[in-house]
């Protein structure tokens, strides 16, 4: 139980990584900040998202990377609060139970809505939702509970409509939630990954990574309602889960994008270290270096 207090790092580890050669993939793109002209000859280009016209010039209104799609100029932001797209898998927390719908916090501009109609009730089938279901709503999903859902529709003011009409979506049981800036989540088709070490990870597009033990499916009663027994997670699975959670935090600290491959590499490389050391500064900076080196090698091999 030795405690030691250190001084501030001479150069913040995060800055060290940016000066290393791991970041040469960024330099070639054109990074713009708000108010900066996006192109020199404004006539030939069409104005896309993230730009506006100021006295004849196309000027960026976002801080991000300029992208050109034959004649359309767009600025894609690097760092922004989550703006949902249809089909995104999100991990959300129920904030309020309202008439016929749940309001959930997806750490986006506005709370998302989960209508009662688009939820898979314990009955398992899509039966018509009647008044009695409305009263039992908070019994099924109450305030503060975590759900995994898919974005069905984006309304005009940016509110997301969610749905959980699939048995892989729905209420999340025991596990650890890690909040990550959404721009670190790499776009990928699969979001549910069951890792061989006996646990599963859900990487939500809105930056919520959920680490959960792959317990045997909770026994489903005949009337279809999930039996809610509180199984105590065995110690070895718990240690694995905590190590994966520490790896996600490490990737977040060094802004390495999070996807299955980076997670597994980080997990294997962190084996020689104790979980507690992963959050300490010098071990994590050394590890971050190794991970970026390994991932860059794999990228070269694929090319």
């Amino acid at each position: 139980m030795s405690i030691e207090i250190s001084g501030p790092p001479l150069v913040s580890p995060w800055m060290m990584l940016t000066m290393s050669d791991a970041r040469n993939d960024i330099d070639k793109d054109k990074i713009v900040i708000p108010g900066q002209a996006v192109c020199d000859a404004p006539q030939q280009f069409m104005r896309g998202h993230g730009t506006y016209i100021r006295d004849g010039e196309i000027v960026s209104s976002l801080s991000g990377v300029v992208q050109q799609l034959n004649r359309l100029l767009m600025v894609k932001t690097i760092k922004q609060r989550y703006a949902g797209e249809v089909g995104d898998v999100v991990v959300a927390r129920v904030v309020e139970v309202q008439a016929k719908r749940w309001k959930c916090d997806v750490s986006s501009r506005l709370h998302a809505n989960l209508p009662l109609g688009s939820v898979l009730l314990p009955g398992g089938d899509f039966r018509r939702k009647d008044v009695e279901d409305e009263e039992k709503m908070s019994e099924f999903l109450k305030n503060g509970e975590l759900i995994c859902a898919e974005v069905q529709q984006v309304q005009h003011d940016g509110t997301l409509m969610l749905h959980t009409r699939n048995n892989k979506y729905g209420k999340l049981q025991q596990g650890i939630l890690i909040k990550v800036p959404p721009h670190l989540i790499k776009k990928s088709k699969k979001h549910f990954h069951t890792l061989p070490y006996g646990m599963a990870v859900i990487i939500g597009c809105n930056g919520n990574v959920w680490v959960t033990p792959a317990l045997p499916e909770t026994t489903v009663e005949e009337d279809g309602s999930h039996v809610h027994e509180f199984q105590i997670v065995p110690q070895d699975i718990r240690l694995v889960m905590i190590r994966v959670a520490a790896c996600v935090r490490l990737l977040r600290d060094y802004s390495i994008s999070i996807f299955l491959n980076s997670l597994t590499t980080c997990y294997e490389m962190s084996q020689p270290y104790d979980i507690k050391e992963l959050s300490e500064q010098e071990t994590s900076s050394r590890l971050a270096y190794l991970i970026t080196a390994r991932l860059l090698q794999e990228l070269q091999q694929q090319k």
């Binding site: 970041r23 900040i33 708000p34 932001t77 802004s255 270096y289």
Partner: protein
């Protein structure tokens, strides 16, 4: 395991490389300002390549003068600091000394009540060795607050400001606007920020007024139509205030907004400008602010809000002459107004350059590795 060793060396190499660069840069800035000033003052005869006799003596004189100015500044600071420890009413030790045994300070310039004359010495230098049009150096760090979307720590000379931006998120219903995003601003100073200890960090008249000023200024900067019914919180905390606090807050807020990736018309930059016998001086420290000279803060973008205060603060967007915030304190003669506005706008352009470089560097750094 050897891969870890050589990575280790690379790491140490990087660090060994980096520290001397820090110190080198520090030394170079001092050396450059000194040589530039002395060269302008002394080099007159270009016919011969070598230094003539009187040029040589003039250069050495100029360097001594510079060193003397710095030492004088240290002395004045040492004298001011204890006075700041005691309440106005209290008899501070230095005054006690003065009253206890009045003694003559022979040729020292610092008289008891610094008249406006002593703000700029006859050679055109200010108390802290800066030229009238020179701004203090700016250090910034972006993205240090993990809970906030965007955050920025800005050091403008001795003024240290911390700013955090939360949102856009779904705030309280009372503040919600149907067509655009509501901006909530809070400016607060820590109790130990000024020379005198304040017993309430926020909520007094002055900080609520500045919060409202910041709100109005940034409502015209942020493209609020893109986030209907949501709310953006901007919180500025002045950790140490040494003059032009409002200007530093505007710069820190625009950097934090850029860090948060919120769509804006541009990066707003702000500067303060005072006037001393018809000559504008820029980026005032608290010592120059406490005197009676009028001061203007300008932060430029589109609409000009002219509020009559003594300090003239102006903030512009990307250095162009669209002004978003003007604050004038103390009375200012009408024909001085244009002189001060131009000086302030010019300084805003310089400040904008610094902010733009920092914002771009930070964006490059926080782009996800292997992101696309």
């Amino acid at each position: 395991m050897n891969s870890i060793q050589n990575i280790q060396q690379v790491l140490n190499l990087q660090i060994r490389l980096f520290i001397p660069r820090f110190q080198l840069r520090e030394f170079l800035t001092v050396y450059n300002t000194l040589s530039e000033r002395c060269f302008n003052a002394c080099a007159r005869d270009y016919t011969t390549s070598t230094l003539t006799k009187d040029e040589g003596s003039c250069v050495s004189q100029c360097i001594d003068k510079q060193m003397l100015v710095n030492r004088r500044f240290m002395l004045v600071f040492a004298e001011q600091a204890p006075k700041a420890l005691f309440k106005q009413g209290e008899q501070s030790p230095t005054e006690a000394i003065k009253s206890a045994k009045p003694e003559q300070t022979p040729a020292s310039q610092t008289t008891e009540t610094p008249t406006t004359m002593s703000i700029i010495s006859e050679h055109g230098f200010r108390i802290d060795g800066r030229r009238p049009a020179q701004i203090r150096n700016i250090n910034t760090r972006l993205g240090l607050n993990r809970n906030a979307e965007g955050s920025c720590y800005l050091e403008h000379g001795n003024t240290k400001v911390l700013c955090a931006v939360y949102g856009p998120y779904e705030g309280k219903a009372s503040k919600r606007l149907e067509d655009r995003c509501a901006i909530v601003c809070q400016y607060s100073t820590t109790t130990f920020s000024g020379l005198e200890r304040k017993n309430r960090p926020r909520g007094d008249r002055k900080s609520t007024e500045i919060s409202r000023l910041l709100e109005k200024a940034f409502e015209s900067v942020i493209l609020t139509e893109s986030f209907p019914r949501s709310q953006i919180d901007i919180f500025c905390e002045v950790i140490q205030g040494d003059g032009s606090n409002l200007a530093a807050c505007v710069n820190a807020t625009s950097l934090a907004l850029a860090d948060a990736g919120i769509p804006m018309k541009g990066i707003a930059s702000a500067a303060t400008c005072g006037i001393v016998d018809a000559k504008p001086i820029v980026d005032l420290t608290s010592r120059e602010e406490t005197d009676l000279l009028p001061r203007v803060t300008v932060s430029g973008f589109s609409s000009i809000i002219l509020l009559l205060h003594s300090k003239f603060q102006l903030a512009t967007i990307c250095g162009r002459d669209e002004v978003i915030l003007v604050e004038l304190q103390n009375r200012l003669h009408i024909d001085h107004l244009s002189v001060v506005m131009d000086a302030a706008k010019a300084t805003c352009a310089d400040v904008y350059e610094c902010l733009a470089v920092v914002a771009q560097q930070h964006l490059k750094a926080c782009a996800p590795i292997l992101g696309h």
